[in-house]
């Protein structure tokens, strides 16, 4: 067991924990932040995506020891001060079917718009390439990202 400190959604946590535990399970089982989803455990579905200092990372692929000292934002933290433009666009376009993969999609899109405020469809396909949706909501995600991009740089 190791003593590890990490910041999640602006809150600092010090945990006595197995250092090899993937961040995904720390978020879900230890911190109770179940908005970060488990889908594959191998980095091929993107459902577990969180933001590490603003950059999207797959939380199933990093251990809590590797995560130590960093700041993470999960879907629960994204809307801390009101819905972001991506979340609003997701509602406007009514993207979700089962909705399970959407937190990962939204966080990835949020980071994309920070990086590239006016993404092309190709940019979107590239950025979201690592995200799977079994319900097939991809066309609506594309539209939602364009709606969010049109909403301007304010997040």
């Amino acid at each position: 067991m190791s003593r590890i400190t990490l910041n999640v959604n602006g809150k600092s946590h010090t945990l006595d924990i197995a250092g090899d535990m993937p961040l995904l399970w720390v978020l879900r089982d230890i911190l109770g932040l179940t908005g970060t989803k488990y889908g594959c455990g191998e980095g091929s579905c993107g459902a577990c995506t969180v933001l590490a200092d603003g950059e999207p990372v797959q939380s199933c692929r990093i251990t809590v020891a590797e995560a130590a000292g960093n700041s993470f934002t999960t879907i629960e933290g994204l809307a801390a001060s009101g819905l972001t433009r991506c979340q609003k666009a997701w509602l406007e376009e009514d993207v979700s079917q089962c909705g399970y993969c959407q937190p990962g999609m939204i966080l990835e899109s949020h980071a994309l718009l920070r990086r590239k405020p006016k993404p092309t469809d190709q940019d979107i396909d590239q950025a979201l390439a690592g995200h799977l949706c079994r319900c097939g909501t991809y066309p609506r995600i594309r539209k939602a990202i364009q709606i969010a991009a049109g909403a301007g740089s304010k997040s």
């Binding site: 067991m1 197995a18 090899d20 535990m21 993937p22 399970w25 879900r28 089982d29 230890i30 109770g32 932040l33 179940t34 908005g35 970060t36 989803k37 488990y38 889908g39 594959c40 455990g41 191998e42 091929s44 579905c45 459902a47 999960t74 879907i75 629960e76 994204l78 809307a79 819905l83 979340q87 997701w90 509602l91 009514d94 993207v95 979700s96 079917q97 089962c98 909705g99 399970y100 993969c101 959407q102 937190p103 939204i106 469809d121 979107i124 396909d125 590239q126 979201l128 390439a129 995200h131 799977l132 079994r134 319900c135 097939g136 909501t137 991809y138 066309p139 609506r140 995600i141 594309r142």
Partner: protein
């Protein structure tokens, strides 16, 4: 310890409760102060809140939006004031199963009846208060009006009086022309929770003191635990207990990771299994061989296969369809608390009533002592009509009496140990007359029937009435042939086979619609025109409707869908070099008609999809479009991945070797045309849009390569 055989016996017994009926329990008025609850489906609070019970599992198909819309329409409720409660099995809710795209048609009457009864009582209460005839009152937006005097009163202010009104047994239902909510596009009720991470799926359910479990299952089908060594497992920090259960060895721990590490450290000896010799390649050969002779006849048009004798030219082709996992992003899971002769289950299940029975059998307690909560499902697709994971969770929780246990399946568990869609072979034969007209037709299907509830007996496998359902998509072909024979042959396989999106029909429709396209090419016919002819467009001897296995097939509706595709799909447009159009259609058993025109290029690109759908009365057009988009993208996955078996083991284990449609493979252009075929009730759409998309794409690609695509994946 229970053997696998006993498990199957229990599963068979449990299937009795799985029948998807439409029986609902309508309670009496409560007569109590407080909320007005005229029946089991709706409750109106004094603050005007309308609480509607949802009796179907939400797994992305939109029932938690569409079903409340139906009730709210009849209630004349303010939809903004609607709140949802998920129904739990019990005396009032005896058949909550969700499957077969039957939610809309099954709940259409109960939801309307429940809403109309409540509305009638609210209006009666207001009329009584004003001493006017109820007929002189109107209701809208959760308010009762008396136009003559200008008086009005909100539903919330009527609850106490309404509860004293007699419950009408046959309340007057609204006419479609009076609908104000149905037919309008309403966004998902659960969407705000979904985009903020607040939505609770099965895997997200948490209880104080809850422990986490995983199970080591045999890598080879039908194998069982011979012995195990858990010494290393017990040294892993956080591991609490190791216990043998029916299907393997459970590791229970403080968190998922500790349980997974504990499982990895387990040393299990598995028994030998007869299934160790099973390979899916050999199975495919056996399936094909089973179609060499006709199977059990399930439909005969004209003189049946005898019609083939007079053909001037014969065509023959064999189609293959693989085993497939469901691959929903949320793996299956279940949370169970066993305590003091009672059991409580929180599960992302499609079959909640069955779980009461399953737990009662495992624990030896009455079914009414089992409380089941239906949670949001992160993709169902038929996987959660299985109850194997709930069965396991109850067994594990029994080992931890008094402590809630959350059973997690990993992605690998989910892909390898669930039930599968059956592989199948289809031998298609066509006889053409001297003028090149299709005069005779045969479709011989061979596959493995569902076996997760109750494997069919040898007698059933030869009984036309029993096998017909397994040939879904064959017996209900909307086309009329001068002579045709459809047959089915059951071929055993050792893996669990059960429901999957569109059940038995995707493979059948793939073979049928591709082969019709082969005939069109061979005879120089336009694929839409040929289909219209086969639907009796110019032939009065072809009946407009027919009933197959209890399903009504209406040819005019199928024709209208194809005619609309012709009119709106811009099928004569000039295509870029290297592009081709593929056409296919299908009449789904629930009364939903779908046709596609798909523009494709090699090797496997889909540029544009035009879809025409007649799904009966439309509740939520927006939901219809979502299901079209989702269904066709699902179908593209259907052409990419497969599950194979080697040495009795499922080979594919995760998305890296079981690929599904990815973001960049989404067709850039999708257009959906919803047509009104005159039906006075809604029909299902979760499954029907899947089936014809696969052959439409295959037909387009085949036109580019010149060689036919007759097996999947492409």
């Amino acid at each position: 310890m229970k053997t696998r055989r006993e498990f199957i016996k229990l599963a068979a017994a449990g299937s009795g409760a799985l029948v998807l009926g439409f029986r609902i329990g309508l309670g009496d008025e409560t007569g109590e102060a407080g909320p007005f609850a005229p029946n089991a489906w709706v409750r109106i609070e004094p603050d005007g809140s309308i609480v509607i019970k949802v009796g179907k599992t939400e797994m992305g198909q939109g029932v938690r939006t569409a079903l409340p819309m139906i009730l709210a329409e009849e209630l004349n409720a303010d939809f903004q004031k609607v709140k949802l409660e998920q129904a739990s099995p019990g005396l009032l809710f005896r058949s909550l199963g969700t499957g077969g795209s039957t939610s809309m048609m099954g709940m259409w009457y109960p939801m309307r009846h429940a809403g109309a009864a409540a509305r009638t009582m609210l209006v009666a209460a207001a009329a009584e208060r004003w001493s006017v005839p109820p007929e002189s009152c109107r209701s809208a937006g959760s308010v009762v009006h008396h136009p003559a005097s200008g008086r009005q009163v909100a539903y919330g202010d009527l609850v106490a009086d309404a509860a004293r009104q007699p419950v009408p047994q046959e309340p007057t239902l609204k006419k479609p022309a009076e609908y104000t909510l149905l037919g309008s596009s309403i966004r998902r009720m659960d969407a705000p929770d979904m985009v903020t991470g607040q939505a609770v799926y099965g895997l997200d359910f948490r209880l104080d003191g809850m422990k986490y479990a995983v199970i080591a299952r045999p890598p080879v089908l039908d194998s069982e635990v011979e012995s195990f060594d858990d010494a290393a497992t017990k040294k892993i920090p956080g591991v609490l207990k190791v216990a043998q259960v029916t299907r393997g060895v459970a590791v229970i721990a403080d968190n998922t990771w500790a349980a997974l590490k504990g499982r990895a450290a387990l040393k299990v000896q598995w028994t030998d299994s007869d299934a160790a010799g099973f390979n899916s390649l050999d199975h495919m050969t056996a399936l094909e061989k089973a179609t060499e002779a006709p199977g059990v006849t399930i439909r005969k048009d004209g003189t049946g296969r005898a019609g083939m004798a007079g053909a001037a030219k014969r065509m023959e082709a064999v189609y293959h369809y693989p085993f497939l996992a469901h691959a929903a992003i949320e793996p299956v899971n279940s949370t169970v608390l066993v305590e003091k002769g009672k059991c409580e289950i929180w599960s992302p299940t499609q079959t909640p009533n069955t779980l009461q029975f399953v737990a009662s059998q495992v624990l030896g307690i009455p079914a009414f002592e089992v409380k089941v909560h239906v949670l949001l499902v992160g993709g169902g697709f038929g996987r959660r009509l299985g109850f194997d994971f709930d069965y396991e969770a109850v067994e594990v929780a029994k080992e931890m009496e008094g402590t809630p246990v959350h059973l997690v399946w990993t992605r690998e568990d989910d892909m390898r140990h669930g039930h599968f869609q059956a592989a199948s072979a289809h031998r298609m034969l066509a006889g053409l007359d001297a003028s090149g007209n299709l005069a005779a037709f045969e479709h011989r299907k061979a596959s493995t029937p569902h076996n997760i509830y109750r494997a069919p007996t040898e007698e059933q496998k030869n009984d036309p009435a029993a096998v017909i359902g397994w040939a879904w998509g064959v017996y209900d072909s909307p086309y009329a042939f001068k002579s045709a024979e459809m047959t089915y042959r059951a071929v055993d396989a050792p893996m669990p086979i059960g429901p999957w999106r569109a059940v038995f029909s995707p493979s059948s429709v793939f073979a049928r619609e591709c082969f019709i396209d082969e005939v069109a090419v061979a005879t120089g016919r336009d694929p839409v025109e040929l289909r219209l002819d086969l639907l009796g467009r110019n032939d009065e001897s072809v009946p407009e409707t027919f009933v197959a296995n209890g399903d009504l097939i209406e040819r005019p509706r199928m024709r209208q869908v194809l005619e609309t595709l012709k009119k709106n799909g811009d099928l004569d447009r000039k295509l870029p070099k290297g592009h081709a159009l593929g056409i296919a259609g299908n009449a789904y058993h629930t009364g939903t008609y779908v046709a596609y025109a798909v523009e494709v290029s090699l090797p496997f690109n889909v540029h544009k999809v035009s879809c025409v759908v007649d799904c009966g009365l439309v509740i939520n057009p927006h939901g219809v479009r979502q299901q079209v988009e989702g269904g066709l993208i699902w179908a593209l996955s259907n052409m990419k991945g497969q599950t194979t078996f080697k040495g009795g083991r499922a080979v594919q284990s995760n998305y890296s070797n079981f690929p599904i449609t990815a973001f960049g493979e989404t067709p850039p252009e999708i257009e959906t045309f919803i047509v009104d075929g005159g039906a006075d009730r809604p029909n299902g759409l979760g499954e029907p849009t899947v089936c014809p998309m696969i052959p439409a794409v295959a037909n387009g690609l085949s036109r580019l390569t010149g060689s036919r695509i007759r097996s999947l994946p492409v």
